[in-house]
Point group: C2
Chain length 407, copies 2
């Protein structure tokens, strides 16, 4: 047996010191913060009044004189408020620079753009990683379960605080799209237009299954300690990395993985006959898992996946989706991607049919791409052009100028 | 905050005493065993000569006088040789009772049916869970990496031992289909017909990604102990259960999950606002994970997934799939399922095109079903009828009688 090389035991690498920065951001974010005291509780769907709490947010551009140019960007599951600035933990560019920025569809020269970290998040809005004043410890699993409507309710309190009555647009992809739809269903008079991308009005059984898998991966890590890892100075980074790896596969299409990696080997031509990362796709996944744990809180991941699982607009409106949007004046644009198997086009079509049944104003675009769910984060020209055109048309109706540089 | 129920921390349940039975089966199977001594090594692709080793197998029916009615069933990743008998660990029926049995397409009244546990498995054929005579301990990660061609090479030694020159048919689904194809490419003169179901001639990047996720889940479990958990009296059942949950999602289609579970709640009508298994699909997945660990060895899971990842018949034949089957006389039947996204129909079509290019005799059936990859294990009448018809026609050509009860 001497002619075989020893089999390595490659494991997920432990997080760098970044995670200390991340822990600090949970309570003391680099962003602006809106604090709400005990007299201004957030009324959660689970029956809890959450108070005090805070919302961390970023803004780009200026609110115009008649306060009519505000756009709320809602972030996805593992996103945050750092849409178009250097991320305080990772040092990387903002997560939606393709969509937001000078010359981009959401141009701060024209619009006042707001993005807040969701309630339950870990980048400065109150969540399980935050300090719980009642116990003097980090919330952990003492934090109440939150829902997509709860996230939106908190954002509405922030928008009130910023002195904005009606948002020109609520924009989001994936979990952000769920929030955009929830905003419109809950506060139709406060939303002039809605851009809902790669999302659904409810989470499918398969998506719940993938989320449950991720949660079980976190909870299976002994360092999770029943959610009390901060108190016990541990970090369930292995379980969280596995959860991220699973989720990451769902964000890409089979075709995109094939194009990016195929069966290509990593830095070699022949198999090592080991459990090393022989294939490039293996190295890529391990990297995705390891880098994620540096910037994200494990309990927050549990809470936000749960919020998505519970989401079901129709169920909140006597089982009929069309009921949620009856009599609504908001202009909708719904966008899906052909290769997105996490939120397939069929779910966007069901939404569009419901909006049509409600006589809502809706345009729908299915973008042909092999880039999967992640397409909404990427430079996909047709998608960006349609978003720009929708906002320009809505802007005209809103009296925001013709969108050709005159604001 | 008193009106919220405490959040449970549901975790994967620890395995029952079944796992002791499983460990015993690794070396002392309830099945028949073919032992190969140090003078009969298994020559592995990694360069190692594995000796001694053993193959555990089951047979059903009788070999006819001219030894022309033998069918080799190749099992899938987590299958074993217990095709049509009570499983010695779980006590459940055999895994392919829809296909094998009286009145079924593979009827022991007509055929001599053999199924062996693959090399690298954990139900009696030598693998990482077996005792290593050189060290006096369980092999663990000292076991050499095995490949699909290695599995087939071991099966060929078993078939020799049983005194069979030519198999009437090699049948398998998923990893079993890979073995059936490899058998035909490696020993075309020994395979009269091949029934390859829900498989591929190489593993896709997405499938490698899912396997890597599963391996990382196992290795992330501290109880894995670098693969030495048996020596250290631990069991990485949490990691293995997570791996199984991930794999199980890929075995079902989105439509099948939706039909089976949808968003239905488990024993309740309203959400618990907790991490309990609110949705039926969550309970189902947890059960799948927990029951799997009672019958399967974690290291074996690593080795068998790796073997599938490495599989690439074309790469072994100068990059052209058609080269693998040039001049072949074997009769092929290739079957795929429309909703199988693990081994999509397009991959079966590519195989069929290559077989056509080789002027091989091939029939192809794409079965319309929403049951996903698992359809090959289920009672899908059209699939079973096509399998039966293929075997009957091949049987006539082989002189096995007309298949109407005369053998």
């Amino acid at each position: 047996m001497s002619n075989v090389r020893p089999i390595a035991s490659p494991s997920i690498t432990s997080p760098s010191s970044n995670s200390d920065d991340r822990a600090h951001e949970a309570d003391h974010p680099s962003s602006s913060v809106a604090k709400f005291g005990v007299d201004q509780p957030l009324k959660l769907d689970c029956g809890v009044d959450l108070a005090p709490f805070q919302i961390a947010y970023q803004t780009y551009g200026e609110l115009n004189a008649d306060r009519s140019n505000a756009i709320l960007v809602c972030h996805a599951l593992t996103g945050d408020q750092h849409v178009n600035n250097i991320h305080p933990v990772t040092g990387k560019p903002g997560w939606w620079e393709t969509m937001v920025g000078a010359g981009r569809p959401l141009d701060p020269e024209k619009y006042f753009i707001i993005c807040s970290n969701v309630i339950g998040g870990c980048m400065g809005s109150t969540g399980p990683a935050s300090f719980n004043p009642a116990t003097g410890k980090v919330w952990g699993l003492d934090f109440p379960i939150i829902t997509i409507p709860d996230m939106v309710r908190a954002q509405a309190m922030l928008i009130d605080r910023l002195g904005i009555t009606t948002l020109f647009c609520v924009v989001g992809g994936s979990m952000g799209g769920m929030q955009a739809l929830q905003w419109t269903a809950a506060y139709p008079e406060r939303v002039f237009s809605t851009l809902a991308i790669a999302c659904s009005t409810r989470h499918s059984a398969q998506n719940i299954a993938f989320h449950e898998l991720g949660r079980q991966a976190v909870m299976a890590d002994p360092d999770w300690r029943g959610g009390r890892y901060v108190d016990q100075d541990t970090h369930p980074y292995r379980g969280l990395a596995v959860a991220r790896m699973a989720a990451h596969i769902t964000y890409l299409s089979d075709a995109a993985l094939h194009r990016k990696f195929g069966r290509r080997m990593q830095d070699r031509e022949l198999p090592t006959f080991s459990f090393d990362a022989d294939f490039q796709v293996e190295s890529y996944l391990r990297y995705q898992g390891s880098s994620f744990v540096e910037r994200f809180d494990a309990n927050s991941y549990l809470y936000l996946t749960r919020a998505m699982d519970y989401f079901d607009i129709a169920a909140d409106h006597n089982g009929a989706l069309a009921n949620a949007f009856t009599g609504i004046k908001t202009r909708f644009c719904v966008i899906s991607f052909t290769s997105d198997w996490l939120f397939p086009t069929s779910e966007s079509r069901a939404l569009v049919h419901a909006l049509n049944a409600s006589s809502a104003r809706v345009s729908f675009a299915e973008i042909e791409t092999d880039r999967g769910h992640d397409a909404f984060l990427l430079d996909v020209p047709e998608f960006l052009e349609i978003s720009r055109a929708f906002l320009q048309a809505a802007g005209k109706a809103r009296g925001l100028g013709n969108g050709d540089g005159q604001s």
